[in-house]
Amino acid sequence: MDAPLNILLVEDEVIAAMLMERQLKRMGFLVSNHVTTGEQAIQSALDSPPDIIIMDIQLAGSLDGIETAIEIRNNSQVPILFLTGFENPAFRERAQAVNPIGYLIKPMNEPLIKELIETVRGGL
């Protein structure tokens, strides 16, 4: 059996995060850490480097998801998947700076997310 993936979920809405954790669990993945701010995400990525980060763009705190990802990218090439509530071309363009594995709109498209995570697992 494959070792479980170390997933870092960055989502400021706790209920939404709980739902996503539930969906990921149903797909066979476990969230190893959930944080609500960019600062916490950067720290968590340093303290316990994840295999994949699922990142919301609008976050609590002073950093948004893209700024957080750029900061993390300075120290790590961890795959980052953006999952945001709204389509925003400006955000999508900014997000390309960290070469994400995906930029998806909520609600979670389970088959697509599963495929992306499986691809990451395959590359490990």
């Binding site: 809405e13 209920i15 939404a16 709980m18 739902l19 539930r22 509530g85 709204f86 389509e87 925003n88 909520k106 609600p107 498209n109 389970e110 088959p111």
Partner: protein, 540 residues
């Protein structure tokens, strides 16, 4: 003693006398007085009671027609009667005594009435022209008429010449008088015209001063420029606006003040105004202290009077600030509204999450699971509207075609394996629809689609769903939904069912959209909803 008595020779004596008379008169008399002097002399020489010198009637346009000696006898005959004494050619000798005149002779009555007892008439010729007539009336007897004639005859040429000169003199005087009158009239006219001109000039200057005063005290700035934009005149208002003195501005051009256009652009702009005759635009000028101010500029090209531009410059800095504030406020409100849509969608997701998470506590209770699943789908249908409104341009309506397709795809995605072999075809005419109509239609589609996914294809591996929306005249619509599933029993009464799904479809179609709904059961379920022109008005 007369000359004749002295010499005994009348002819010689007459000539001598004539020379004597001529010499004396020429020595003492100016030409215009010659006729009077001559007849005075003739009066004295001949002893006639009256001597008259008549101007020939052809000598027109003179007031003096008769010279008489003595002067009081001038009125002896009327001017009209006097004309009768004037022959038009060298006259035949008249009888001397009126009684000897023929009875019908025109002068007979005149002479008798005037009690003239004798008359001698001489025609006066000068340079071959008949110029007048000399009349000697009442020559004293016993002087012989022939002696008198002989005495007078030598001085007739001089008399004729004197008369002609006098007439010429009178003519000249008359013309001089006419010229003087004319000159006086002209002078009056010139004075009058000069006065009128002065008044007009005064009025013009007053108007000019008034216009200048208006321009100087106007609320707007004013320029007069040539066609290169060089300022030729500027009012105090613009001086105040710009901080430059009038003297400084008169050495500047538009390009020295305009902060928004380059000299090349200004040149093109001026050419455009020359072509069109006028122009109105907004720009910014740079003050002397280098700060900027907003202007609304109105320009007229005046090729006739000035060959340049008349420019009015209105300071709109305050208006621009207000506009920017309004725009800023509007942007703020728009951002706020989008944020509200965002939060509404998130809130709906939280509600949905709470339901789903709570249902997890009852994994074996299918009724709870079913209820939560249906509610979750309905919440998603509403949340998608807010998600699309967040991204919409006008914040009050969204593209119904895109919404229905996105909603269908979301439902399919969340239905997992069940939709693997179900195909949806769309025929959706684009249209922007207000939120008030979108949500009911979304909920109806959600009920129909989830019903098809759960029940229509239970006996087969594949399915076909068709979703159509057509607009009539752009406002009323026909929504058609169909699947090719198992359908329902023939006696199935759609309206009599108690399930929330069918209740929602009927209620939302008929009560909220004010339309009509019709179900058909033929090779699957078909639902046709007619939606009238929206009764909702745009609120934003």
């Amino acid at each position: 003693m007369t000359i004749r008595e002295q010499t005994g020779n009348v002819d010689y004596a007459a000539k001598m006398l004539a020379i004597e008379v001529i010499s004396e008169i020429l020595a003492t008399t100016s030409s215009n007085q010659l006729p009077e002097k001559l007849i005075e002399q003739i009066h004295e020489l001949t002893g006639s009671k009256t001597v008259m010198l008549l101007v020939h009637p052809n000598s027109q346009e003179i007031s003096k027609l008769v010279y008489s000696c003595p002067l009081r006898r001038e009125q002896l005959f009327s001017p009209l009667d006097l004309e009768k004494f004037c022959p038009t050619f060298t006259p035949d000798p008249l009888p001397v005594h009126p009684q000897e005149f023929p009875e019908d002779h025109p002068l007979r009555t005149l002479l008798l009435q005037a009690k003239v007892e004798s008359i001698i008439r001489f025609a006066l010729h000068a340079s071959g022209e008949l110029v007048g007539t000399l009349l000697l009336l009442d020559v004293p007897e016993p002087a012989r008429i022939s002696d008198v004639i002989q005495t007078i005859t030598p001085i007739l040429p001089l008399t004729a010449m004197a008369l002609k000169n006098a007439i010429a003199h009178i003519h000249i005087e008359h013309q001089a008088q006419q010229l003087a009158v004319l000159a006086a009239e002209r002078e009056v006219h010139v004075v009058q015209k000069t006065s009128e001109l002065n008044s007009a000039m005064h009025l013009l200057r007053a108007n000019e001063e008034l216009h200048r005063a208006i321009l100087q005290t106007a609320m707007d700035g004013f320029w007069l420029t040539d066609t290169t934009g060089h300022i030729q005149e500027v009012n105090r208002t613009y001086c105040r606006m710009s901080g430059y003195s009038e003297q400084e501005l008169l050495s500047m051009k538009a390009e020295n003040l305009d902060a928004d256009e380059t000299p090349g652009e200004i040149s093109k702009h001026m050419q455009l105004i020359i072509d069109k005759g006028e122009g109105c635009f907004e720009t910014r000028h740079r003050r002397k202290d280098q700060s900027l101010f907003d202007l609304e500029v109105s320009v007229q090209y005046r090729p006739r009077e000035h060959d340049g531009f008349i420019v009015f410059l209105k300071d709109i800095t305050a208006r621009k600030i207000a506009e920017n504030e309004i725009l800023h406020s509007l942007n703020e409100k728009e951002t706020m509204l989008r944020e509200i849509y965002h939060r509404t969608k998130n809130t709906l997701q939280v509600v949905r999450g709470l339901l789903v998470l709570h249902a997890d506590e009852f994994p074996e209770n299918t009724e709870v699971q079913q209820l939560v699943k249906c509610t979750e789908e309905r919440i998603q249908a509403i949340a998608l509207v807010h998600q699309m409104l967040y991204a919409s341009k006008n914040l009050s309506s969204i593209s119904i075609d895109k919404y229905l397709q996105d909603l269908s795809e979301n439902i399919f995605q969340n239905s997992g394996q069940k939709t693997k072999n179900i195909h949806i075809s769309y025929e959706l005419e684009p249209h922007e629809v207000l939120i008030d109509s979108v949500i009911p239609l979304g909920l109806i589609l959600n009920e129909l689609l989830t019903n098809s996914i759960r029940h229509a294809f239970t006996d087969r591996d594949y399915g076909q769903i068709s979703i159509q929306l057509h607009w009539n005249s752009g406002e009323s619509a026909i929504f058609q939904y169909a699947d090719n599933g198992i359908g329902v029993p023939d006696d199935f009464n759609f309206r009599a069912q108690t399930s929330l799904g069918l209740k929602l479809i009927h209620s939302l179609s008929e009560k909220q959209l004010l339309g009509s709904v019709q179900f058909k059961n033929s090779h699957g379920i078909q639902c046709i909803i007619e939606i009238p022109k929206s009764h909702y008005k745009a609120r934003l």
